[in-house]
Symmetry: C2
Subunit: 258 residues, 2 copies
Amino acid sequence: MFQAAKPTKVFQEVVAQIEEAILAGRLETGQILPSERELKEMFRISRGTLREALRVLEQKGLIEIRLGVGGGSVVRAVDTGRVTESLGLLIRSQKVSLQHLAEFREGLEGNIAAQAAKRRTAGDICKMRELLEVARSCAAAGRQRREELLETDKQIHLAVAAATQNPIYQSILASIHDNIHRYYERFLSMEDRELRENVEDLCGLIDAIEERDADAAGRLSRRHVHRFNAYMQERARQAEAGTDMHSPSIDQAAGERF
Amino acid sequence: MFQAAKPTKVFQEVVAQIEEAILAGRLETGQILPSERELKEMFRISRGTLREALRVLEQKGLIEIRLGVGGGSVVRAVDTGRVTESLGLLIRSQKVSLQHLAEFREGLEGNIAAQAAKRRTAGDICKMRELLEVARSCAAAGRQRREELLETDKQIHLAVAAATQNPIYQSILASIHDNIHRYYERFLSMEDRELRENVEDLCGLIDAIEERDADAAGRLSRRHVHRFNAYMQERARQAEAGTDMHSPSIDQAAGERF
DNA sequence: ATTGTTATAATGGTCTAACCATTTCTATCC
DNA sequence: GGATAGAAATGGTTAGACCATTATAACAAT
């Protein structure tokens, strides 16, 4: 019913003011705030306190702090970076496993594909086909262009998300992909056959989206992601059994506590 | 191909070290770090720099800084708070509209319900029925217990998410609800009839989940959320037309620029 | 014994005043 | 005209002091 009554700290007040100014549009993206020495005069605070506030704003992704003359606090365009990071922290703090992430992604990409099928423009399809061509040639080249294929694959999924015209789909999907890739990349090494299958999956998906068949698009996308997940989990299981690379290193913890 | 080569700042190094220690489990949740005066000796840095690092860690949600004797930097259990906040920033920076959010929620809750139907335990159902009873009595009481009903409604949705046993569903859903409510709450005033309809929707949903009918659960959940969205949008449209409460206040911007 | 009060000390919060490091711009030199 | 060195602006860091908040202990009052 009640909230904890905690004293408002000075730096928080500063954070709140600048944040409000940015979100209200009084400070536009790219605009450079006054120098720290000027700001501290305006707020009538010390530089240290001001800098704590700026650090918080930087961590929130609202400003970017540049060095040197002509530098300063630059108002940033808010992007998905912070969502990605906080999701990453959740994962790394053992609250979320890769399996959880994969399951979530399956449903998410299904919804995205269905929505994309309803909203896609000719330009969206064009973009997807373009990327698909790149993916095809990569897949044909086999292992050598593996890195590029993975990147292109990701781009295709993001292009589908873009076709939904809903930025939240794009944000969340980008965050999920980022986090999945960061943790899977170690043992990502599909066989050539699987690589090509993967690309053919996508081809069918894009066809469905072009035909505005939301049901089919959703189904195909789910299946595509599901297959990928199953494959990666199998891989991960093998790697785990073979190298035991995730065993906790106990000794490390002994001497290094504060 | 290459990354920008920027100098590593001292406070970042400190952030990295403490973050690593927390995520690796060398610092456990609830544990109190040494005092600032001790830490600054350990890292051989000034207190100001250390405090900048601590502020960043606090903003990341990794520590909580308590005042007074016995206070200090307490290692926190990472939760969804940061995801919620960064999603909120995306929304407020005009990148995401409430409509986008509502659309996303529709698909999300559909997936959640379907998954919950597959995994639900007896305990999950019990919990849901309990909450449903509260909601029913609130709905019967009408406008007086409106606040409580909304809270209970939210709790039910979260209970369904909990039944998926996938924390990422819970995190994202909590973030979405938080953000939707924060921006809708101004004109949330459903009619008694709608309140009751809402509760009956949920009743059917829970039945489907109990019977492990994933398809039906997903469909019902989608429809439930869709109806709510349509209703709220209609409400918002009315409010907009009537009061024009969202018109940009131009004069405000004039004198207050830095 | 319980309750209220006060003193104490530990800790984070803030301030001041320097100096260091990086970057851009400019004047100078060849 | 181009390279080079200097100047200036700006963020990054340091040091030392003092203020504000809070837990604890000691003490007093009921």
